[in-house]
Amino acid sequence: MKALEVADVSISYNGSLAIDKVSFDVNEGDLLGIVGPNGAGKTTLFRAILGLQGYTGVIRLFGYEAKKYYPLLPLIGYVSQKVNFEPNFPATVSEVVAMGLLSEKKLDKISTLLQKNGYSWNRVYSKLDKNSEKVLEALKTVNLDSLKDRRIGQLSGGELQRVFIAKALVKDPILMILDEPVTGVDVDTQTKFYNVIKKINEENKITIVWSSHDLEAIAKLANRVACMNRQLFFHGQKEEFFSNKDLLKTYTESAMQMHMHHH
């Protein structure tokens, strides 16, 4: 079954095309790594999928057209590149994760819509009775249960990203979109984060779309790869991408150029 279908999606931004006729499918259970230089339009594409950005073309979520079935949008867990929040915001880690909870009413609506199209929904946290249990279990999944009463502003960058994963996780999403989630953290923290990604993909059976510059990590974790720069250059099995030397070379060069350009 297809979790996400992107068909002929174009997005223009101040008169120029940020995304040019991009099409690809994501199957249930996939861990799709999206690579592409900075400014390739990955974030813009994600925002379109999440209903935060207008587009032409069709985006289907779990068989429904996303524009018409916005009640399904909350079923996507989204962790953005950077979360701008007030560093002194008076909320504990548990309180932040609890913000991700959906009401019973919304869960029922989503559940009915999914059943209608024959999708299975693996409910890990939302089936628990108490909200506090749901939050605690989600925090255990990302190995942060020991910090549950810590104030959010006291965490490190890597810990924060795991809190936001837990916040996205607590509503049992079918699809998770991670937008360069570990930019600018140390290697040890990255490894911890990648273990979490692997775990929620395998154990929680969550389909993951993940953009990253870390080709090594993508080679290790993803089963499928998409490569884009405004247009989609490649979409297919990971092995195919990494054995195609020309493609890899072009990608690395363009990424390097963009990198130099930015500095």
Binding site: L52, P74, N88, A91, E95, M99, L102, Q154
Partner: protein, 278 residues
């Protein structure tokens, strides 16, 4: 002798209404301060000044015109901010001066400053009638209920508007509802400290409680306690010292903030020293 003042009916009314106002201001203030809308209360109350002058000019009960004018003004500002990308602080300035400008204009046309107007500017909690007390209590109950019902969406929306949207919240609608509740809170609270000091009740207890380094629930409870203490103790103190209640309440809140900052600086409260948090 201390208990004697609680026997006066005007004091009882003042204390009860004052405590209710303390609660709604501190609750609403938490969201306003965190959304960087600290001066929104000021803008609303200046708009209310315009509203009051419309009432005095036309002979309609000034409080009603104050509600209508400031809520309309606040909704207009929200719309203005959304569609023209005028920054938040500038939009607040526009609201503030246009409200006050209308007020000054109409008051000069009505025949100058009156006692009524003075009580709106500086508060008159000890002069309120039974009807006023009942009105304040009823509106406070409404504000508290709305905020309790909306606490989860409001918190998410305050923390990260975009994520709240992705989580399925109708952010635009919530924003309008929020502005209306803020407007009602401010106009109702004007009776306590007056138009010119309303921000004190919204901002001071909240920034004080945020220094304690606790989670959201505890921060709200601490802020509410500080607000109630300042209002009740401020009214009692002002009676004995023969001072204006509004000024006493505000300066008491300032003193609590300064005391907390000092305690934090010395490392008595909070896990992190102040130099790190500011």
């Amino acid at each position: 002798m201390v208990l004697e003042i609680f026997g006066y009916a005007f004091m009882q009314k003042g204390l009860i209404a004052g405590a209710a106002i303390a609660v709604i201001c501190s609750l609403m203030g938490t969201f306003l301060v965190l959304r960087r809308y600290s001066l929104f209360g000021d803008a609303l109350s200046h708009m209310a000044f315009g509203g009051i002058s419309v009432g005095l000019f036309t002979g309609v009960y000034p409080l009603w015109t104050a509600y209508v004018v400031s809520i309309l003004g606040a909704l207009g500002m929200t719309k203005l901010r959304k569609s023209t990308k005028i920054s938040g602080d500038a939009a607040i300035a526009v609201l503030l001066v246009s409200g006050f400008g209308v007020g000054v204009l109409l008051i000069s046309a009505t025949g100058g400053f009156s006692v009524d107007l003075f009580s709106f500017l500086f508060g008159s909690i000890l002069l309120i009638s039974n009807e006023d007390t009942m009105l304040i209590l009823a509106i406070s109950a409404g504000v508290i209920t709305s905020l309790v019902v909306l606490r989860k969406p409001l918190l998410h929306f305050t923390f990260d508007e975009e994520q709240a949207k992705v989580g399925g919240l109708n952010v635009d609608r919530l924003n309008y509802v929020f502005v209306i509740i803020a407007g009602v809170t401010v106009i109702t609270s004007m009776r306590l400290v007056g138009i010119l000091l309303i921000s004190a009740l919204i901002v001071l207890p909240n920034i004080t409680s945020m220094l304690f380094g606790k989670g959201f629930k505890h921060t709200v409870l601490i802020s509410m306690s500080i607000a109630i203490f300042s209002v009740v103790f401020g009214i009692v103190l002002s009676y004995y010292l023969d001072l204006a209640p509004s000024g006493t309440i505000v300066m008491l809140s300032v003193a609590i903030l300064v005391g907390t900052l000092t305690a934090k600086y010395l490392g008595v409260i909070g896990k992190t020293p102040i130099l790190k948090t500011i």
